[in-house]
């Protein structure tokens, strides 16, 4: 599998990254080499092997449904760039 320039641009867009041509070129090479390395897995015979869902052989880790206080609001908002009326203030969305 080879990542085209368009694919790199698409992935960059999804990650909200602005790449210039040079970077697109660089990441294209790097990502392609990583993918080529991972492609080695294709050589393995996976006939009859269940797809792995989780690396740990455990399941059903639960907590009981009991409500407890969260964190103080000042603490929650401490790192926010903008705050108004106890809420995170964010720039225009659309």
């Amino acid at each position: 599998m080879v990542l085209t320039k368009q694919k790199i641009e698409h992935v960059a867009m999804l990650a909200r990254l602005k790449l210039d041509d040079e970077e697109t070129e660089l990441f294209s090479e790097q990502l392609n080499s990583i993918l080529a390395y991972v492609e080695k897995l294709d050589d393995l015979n996976t006939e009859g092997i269940e797809p792995l869902v989780h690396v740990l052989p455990i399941n059903n880790v639960f907590r009981d449904d009991v409500a407890r206080p969260g964190m103080p609001r000042e603490e929650l908002l401490a790192n926010a760039t903008m705050v108004e009326e106890g809420q995170f203030k964010v720039p225009r969305i659309v």
Binding site: H54, V55, N59, A67, P69, M71, R73, L76, Q87, V90
Partner: protein, 483 residues
Amino acid sequence: MVLPNYEAVIGLEVHVELKTQSKIFCSCSTAFGAEPNTQVCPVCAGMPGALPVLNRQVVEFAIKTGLALNCEIAGMSKYDRKNYFYPDLPKAYQVSQYDQPICRTGYLEIEAEEGKKRIGINRVHIEEDAGKLIHQGAITTSSYSLVDLNRSGVPLLEIVSEPDLRTPREACLYLEKLRSVLLFLGVSDCKMEEGSLRCDANISIRPRGETRLGTKAEIKNMNSFRSLERALEYELTRQMEVLEDGEEVVQETRTWDEGQQATFSMRSKEEADDYRYFPDPDLVPVVVDQEWVQRVRESLPELPDAARQRLMEQYELPAYDAGVLTMTRDTLDFFDECIRHYDDAKVVSNWIMGEMSRLLNQHNLEISASQVSPSALVRMLRLIDEGTISGKMAKTVFEEMFTTGKEPDVIVKEKGMTQISDESALEPLVVQVLEANPEVVEDYRGGKTKALGFLVGQVMKATRGQANPKLVNQILKRHLDKS
């Protein structure tokens, strides 16, 4: 609404907030209406390094819902990350279930116009809710938005129907039925106005007889049963006009505008959605064995269909009454409690469906918030049966009970509303009325039996409506017929 040449194909995606005490992956409260950002912790705020732990009750509720919707419960299900950026999603991914949902392939039966109809359920999966955004005015013109994370991490079930619905009416019936099932299960409040029940629709049309599906539009932002029906009707007409004009329906998301009563395209993004789902490494799979399923199955309460059947068989109520009384668990509980102390089910049903519903609607209340208790209603019905008040007076008494929460006896006493059922008190009034209206008496004796109604009215008037009409009738007849 009739489209003679076309058939509608509709499927609904319903999101319900589960009625747990705490959030899905952390212990923050799920209570509605708290001050912004006061029910938040590092997990639901998406702080780096915070780790989620699944709330057992969420799984329990999901299994319950799946069983009530006749679904298969997956022996193993897992959690996936759905990745996208939006200010209400602090982790930049929503934990959801992608290819291994907890429930699959069920159905829900509705009473369609042509009779019972099974609507397929494709899947039910667990996911987390996002936070809430408050815009300054409309989202498109707002210069900024405010983010409240209290709702972030509240557990949701997404219930996806098959495209088995054929009319906007059927879509409404399905949603109503689904809501009653969820209310009977006690897994959600299902309040559309508070957003604990949300519904999106996929809708397409095709020429009658065609089996392939047409291009669908996804409709969002329908905030009531009414707007669901209106939006789908609007959309059907719109798509039909597009096809009749020889054009093609575009696959897109449209939003329902309540003010303009129309759907509008939500300017499709240049690139298609790409959520890059992958298994959440922070959450381990959930394994549900037969024993667990069996335990939940045994704990299932009576569901709307069974309750409806019971009301029709045990109390011989008409199907319509049984349907209305089983819309919500609270309505049914109210009825059941009344019927424990009062024999005439139809009378109880009439009062619940009539005056009670009218006043609840008028005050925008649920029956659980009503000040009239089942025992107070029963007491009032007894006052009618004993002849203390007339059916007409009872309406006034009931309204007073509803607004003040007072007992019916107290109201009757305070308002001096007691019905006059004493013959010796009514007799002289009857004689007076007869003497004052000799022509009417002649008419009656001449065969115009309708004249009796006028005379009863006169006696009622003389007692300012307090006379027992049945008794007045009897006394009048006795006098008139003896001639």
